[in-house]
C-alpha cells in the first residue's frame, strides 16, 4: 500500500510531485467526499473523521491509480469502500436523538412544508439505512444508472434494482408513517 521504492533523492521528488498532483485533484473533487460523508454521518465531527479517513485511503490507493478511469469515478469506489468496510467509527461521536425503533415514527411538533424541513426529514430517514443501502442511495443521487450502480458495487443489475426499490419503500415508510 505504501511505496516500496528505495529512498533516493530522485524518488523523493517523484513522490512529492505525485502528491501535489493528487492533492490538486482532491481539492477539485472534494465535494464528492463531502457528499458521501453527508450520507453516512449526521454530525460535523463524524463528517470530518470520515472525510479524513477517505482522504487517507485515497492517497494510499493513489499509486495504483493509473488513470484508466476518471479520477472522480475512482474516488467513488474508494470513498464507498472506506465508509462500508474500512472505517472504524471513533467512539467520541455523540449519539443524536434516536427515533422510535419499532415504528420509525417521526414526531414533529408542527407540520412545516418548507423545503429545508423536508430535506432534514429525508436525511434523517437516510441515516437509518444500512451501510450498503446508503452507498446505493449515494450513487442514485449522483445520477448513476442501475448498470453503473451495479458495477460500482460489484453486484448484478437485478440485485441493484431490487435493493433500490426496497430502499425507496423503506424511506417512504420512515418519512410518512
Amino acid at each position: 500500500m505504501y511505496f516500496s521504492l528505495p529512498i533516493s533523492e530522485i524518488n523523493l521528488t517523484v513522490i512529492k510531485e505525485l502528491e501535489q498532483k493528487f492533492v490538486s485533484d482532491l481539492v477539485e473533487n472534494q465535494n464528492i467526499i463531502h457528499k458521501v460523508c453527508r450520507i453516512y454521518t449526521n454530525n460535523q465531527d463524524a463528517h470530518n473523521d470520515l472525510f479524513q479517513e477517505i482522504s487517507i485511503q485515497l492517497w494510499k490507493a493513489y499509486p495504483k491509480f493509473r488513470g484508466e478511469a476518471k479520477f472522480s469515478t475512482w474516488m467513488y469506489r474508494v470513498a464507498l469502500n472506506t465508509a462500508i468496510t474500512l472505517y472504524r467509527k471513533s467512539k467520541r461521536r455523540i449519539k443524536t436523538q434516536d427515533f422510535d425503533n419499532v415504528l420509525y415514527k417521526i414526531e414533529s411538533t408542527e407540520y412545516d412544508d418548507t423545503e429545508e424541513e423536508q430535506l432534514k426529514i429525508i436525511y434523517k430517514a437516510i441515516h437509518h439505512l444500512s451501510d450498503i443501502e446508503k452507498a446505493l442511495v449515494f450513487l442514485y443521487l449522483e445520477d448513476k444508472n442501475y448498470r453503473e450502480i451495479a458495477q460500482t458495487m460489484g453486484i448484478s443489475e437485478v440485485n441493484a434494482r431490487v435493493k433500490m426499490s426496497r430502499i425507496k419503500n423503506k424511506l417512504k415508510k420512515i418519512a410518512n408513517p
Binding site: I56, R77, V78, I84, S90, Q151, I155, V158
Partner: protein, 206 residues
C-alpha cells in the same frame, strides 16, 4: 412524492454548505493516522501466526528436547511431525500473504469484503490446525512416556490409557476455551464486515 427525487433536486446545491478544504489542508490531512480496520486485522493476524510458534519454541526447549524424543523411541516421529508442521505453516503463511495482498480499496465493495473475510478465514484455519495438532502430539508423547521403562513397573497398561485419555480431555477443555475466546475476537473484528457482505450479496445472481 418520492423522497429521493426531492433530495435529488437539491443534491448538488448543497455544495455551498460544505467546508472547502485548501491544498494545504488536504496535504496535512492525508498524512494523518488511518483508523482503518484492515491495519488492525493485519496486526492481530500477525500476532496469531506468531503465537503458536513462540509457544512451540518455549515448550520445546524447556520440556521435550531432542534427547527425550530419542529416549522414547520417537526420533522418527519427531522429524516427520516437525517437518509436516513447518510445511503446513509455510503454506498458511503463503496463502495469508496472497490474500492480504489482494485487499485493495480500489476494488468494488463486494470483492473487498470477500478478500478481507477470506484473509481472516485463513488465520482461523491456521489456529484450528494448531489446536488440532497439539493434543495429538502431546498424546503420543504422553503415551510413550508412560509406557517407557521409567513407568513400566509403576503403572498398569490400562492406567496408562486412562491417564492419556484424561489429559486428552483436560486439553480438549482448555482448547475449547481458547476457541471460545477466538469466537469473541472474531465477533468484534468482523461483525460489521460479515453483516455488510451478506447484505450486499443477498438477492445476487452473479
Amino acid at each position: 412524492m418520492d423522497q429521493l427525487e426531492i433530495l435529488k433536486k437539491d443534491w448538488d446545491k448543497q455544495e455551498n454548505t460544505f467546508q472547502k478544504f485548501s491544498q494545504k489542508d488536504l496535504s496535512t490531512i492525508i498524512h494523518k493516522r488511518s483508523s482503518s480496520i484492515v491495519k488492525w486485522i493485519f496486526i492481530i493476524s500477525l500476532l496469531e501466526f506468531a503465537l503458536p510458534l513462540v509457544l512451540l519454541l518455549f515448550t520445546d526447549i524447556e520440556k521435550v528436547s531432542k534427547e527425550r524424543y530419542d529416549q522414547l523411541g520417537l526420533s522418527n516421529f519427531r522429524i516427520i511431525s516437525y517437518s509436516i508442521y513447518y510445511v503446513v505453516i509455510l503454506y498458511f503463511v503463503f496463502r495469508f500473504y496472497k490474500n492480504y495482498k489482494s485487499i485493495s480499496a480500489y476494488s468494488n465493495p463486494k470483492t473487498l469484503l470477500k478478500n478481507i473475510l477470506n484473509t481472516r478465514k485463513i488465520v482461523k484455519y491456521y489456529i484450528w490446525f494448531n489446536l488440532a495438532i497439539t493434543p495429538i502430539i502431546t498424546g503420543v508423547i504422553l503415551y510413550k512416556t508412560l509406557n517407557s521403562p521409567l513407568f513400566a513397573d509403576k503403572l498398569s497398561h490400562t492406567n496408562n490409557i486412562i491417564i492419556v485419555l484424561l489429559s486428552f480431555v483436560l486439553m480438549a477443555i482448555m482448547l475449547a476455551l481458547i476457541w471460545l475466546f477466538y469466537r469473541l475476537l472474531y465477533g468484534i473484528l468482523l461483525n460489521k464486515l460479515k453483516h455488510n457482505y451478506n447484505e450486499l450479496i443477498s438477492n445476487d445472481d452473479c
